[in-house]
């Protein structure tokens, strides 16, 4: 049985889709069977980041409504044999996402894949609660700024009350993925520090992804950053996060502690 992960945040624009794609590609490079599922019905983006936007025929809603088989809707990645995408519908109404339908699809995916990674829409409405409903563990994506942290805190509360796991009285495993982290700005006090975010949210840290142009560049060419440039700082941070998800214990490094070329680029941009 595969593991179901929800990538969620409450707030929009913090990097859920980017992180879903990057973690999915990183896990698939370990030769594990991975499917990334887009739950953002009506505002789908995961297909773009995965570079599969021209290959979408059927989507999640089609499968839920019984208009297509799951195997027809799954899109295999061109670069990685073991990586699949289940896209969201861009045209259909999000009310078509029914609890029963979602449960059926997730159960079916769990049977075939090692990892089912659900990319949650922003907000706390039905789309977000359905994306987290059947998860075994959650990756809470947070930017080091107050509004994102508070929204994440709200989402953690929902993870502990609105999911199947919580309703069965079990504990939902939650991991914090701190994205768009800029050590210089954190040092200047323009951004929350890692320890502040951890103190507020009090969930274990999965990784810290540095703010980087590489992320945007990868998205624009339709490739998860862990595939586009595996040696870039954000990609390496995502690889480490994926290893921690798979159960490995690795020390966490705070980006920017040792200043390299990376630091210089940043110093110039800030000036």
């Amino acid at each position: 049985m595969g593991k179901v992960i929800v990538v969620t945040s409450g707030k929009g624009g913090v990097g859920k889709t980017t992180s879903t794609a990057a973690l999915g590609a990183a896990l698939a490079q370990r030769n594990e069977r991975v499917v990334v599922v887009d739950f953002d019905v009506g505002l789908r983006n995961l297909d773009l980041v995965m570079g599969a936007e021209r290959r979408v025929v059927y989507d999640l809603i089609n499968v839920i409504q019984g208009e297509a088989k799951l195997s027809q809707a799954l899109i295999r990645d061109k670069r990685l044999e073991t990586l699949f995408l289940l896209p969201a519908s861009q045209t259909r109404d999000k009310d078509n996402l029914t609890p029963e339908g979602v449960e059926r699809v997730i159960t079916e995916l769990k049977r075939v894949f090692d990892w089912v990674i659900c990319d949650s829409p922003a907000g706390i409405e039905s789309g977000a609660t359905l994306a987290m409903r059947h998860a075994d563990m959650a990756v809470v994506v947070t930017n080091p700024e107050v509004s994102s942290v508070r929204d994440s805190d709200r989402i953690i509360g929902l993870l502990d009350s609105k999911t199947m796991k919580a309703e069965r009285g079990e504990r939902m495993e939650k991991h914090l993925l701190l994205t768009r982290y800029d050590a210089n700005r954190a040092e200047r006090g323009d951004m929350l520090k890692v320890e502040d975010v951890l103190e507020i949210l009090s969930i274990p840290l999965l990784g810290i992804i540095p703010e980087s142009m590489d992320v945007l560049r990868a998205s624009n060419i339709g490739s998860p950053v862990t595939l586009a440039d595996a040696r870039s700082a954000p990609a390496m941070a995502y690889f480490d996060a994926a290893r921690r998800l798979a159960g490995e214990v690795l020390p966490i490094t705070i980006p920017g502690e040792k200043r390299g070329i990376f630091g210089k680029i940043f110093a110039r941009r800030a000036a």
């Binding site: 508070r150 805190d153 709200r154 953690i156 929902l158 009090s202």
Partner: protein, 242 residues
């Protein structure tokens, strides 16, 4: 704070809130009483055993008129427990005490019960009340943004932080072994001796017995400190805990 007490046992004064029906009569009283009789005829026993408060705000009446009205109501088995909005000149000995500070509740909360009783024909069995000396609620995890912990029966202890946008409402004291970033309300049912304790104060709002203080009203030196808050008279006093 360290005053010597003559006897270690203190007198226990408790606050408790009850739901009362408020009657606001209008002039002339005769007409109003006729309408009241109509209501009583339609739902028998509406006022039976219910605390009733008489609201006489803005009514140009004198003490004799008020006395007559109370007598009329007593004749209809409507027992007045207090008078709201009465000028001191019309109140006097032998009359129900003056009440103030009432808070409105939904009409539904007041009327629901008797209607159910009428339909069932017989009163609901009342569960025997079990009351322990003091009740407490302990929460072993952080209270997240958007969550409310409401415990009118006694003290609330949080082993963890209370996030911004979360709230704790306790009938007794609130103890937070973590950072208080949200709201904490102690003595919510009227308990002026309730206190708020927290390991780190970053609160949006604190309230004791209905008297509140916003973040901006708090001394800046207390932010980030271990603090206890209590009520002295009508003001909230805060002090660092060592």
């Amino acid at each position: 704070m360290t005053k010597m007490l003559t006897d270690a046992r203190s007198i226990r004064i408790k606050g408790r809130s009850f739901l009362a029906v408020v009657l606001a009569p209008d002039l002339p009283f005769d007409d109003w009483l006729v309408r009241l009789d109509d209501l009583a005829a339609r739902s028998a026993g509406f006022f039976l055993g219910r605390p009733v408060v008489l609201d006489v705000t803005d009514l140009p009446i004198d003490r004799a008129q008020l006395k007559d009205l109370i007598a009329e109501l007593a004749g209809r088995n409507v027992n007045i427990m207090g008078i709201e909005g009465g000028r001191p000149s019309i109140l006097g000995p032998g009359m129900p005490p003056a009440l103030k500070g009432g808070r409105p509740v939904s009409d539904e909360a007041v009327t629901k019960e008797p209607i159910i009783e009428l339909r069932n024909g017989e009163p609901k069995p009342v569960a025997p009340e079990v009351r322990s000396a003091l009740q407490s609620m302990v929460i072993r995890e952080p209270v997240r943004s958007g969550q409310s912990v409401i415990f009118p029966e006694g003290d609330v202890t949080i082993i963890g932080s209370v996030a911004s946008g979360a709230e704790i409402i306790a009938g007794g004291s609130v103890h937070i072994y973590g950072t208080l970033r949200g709201r904490a309300m102690a003595g919510s049912l009227g308990n002026a001796s309730a206190r708020i304790f927290c390991r780190k104060l970053e609160a949006e709002l604190v309230a004791i017995d209905g008297i509140y203080k916003m973040a901006e009203d708090m001394a800046p030196g207390l932010r980030g400190q271990s603090v206890q808050l209590w009520l002295e008279g009508d003001s909230i006093i805060a002090e660092k805990l060592i």
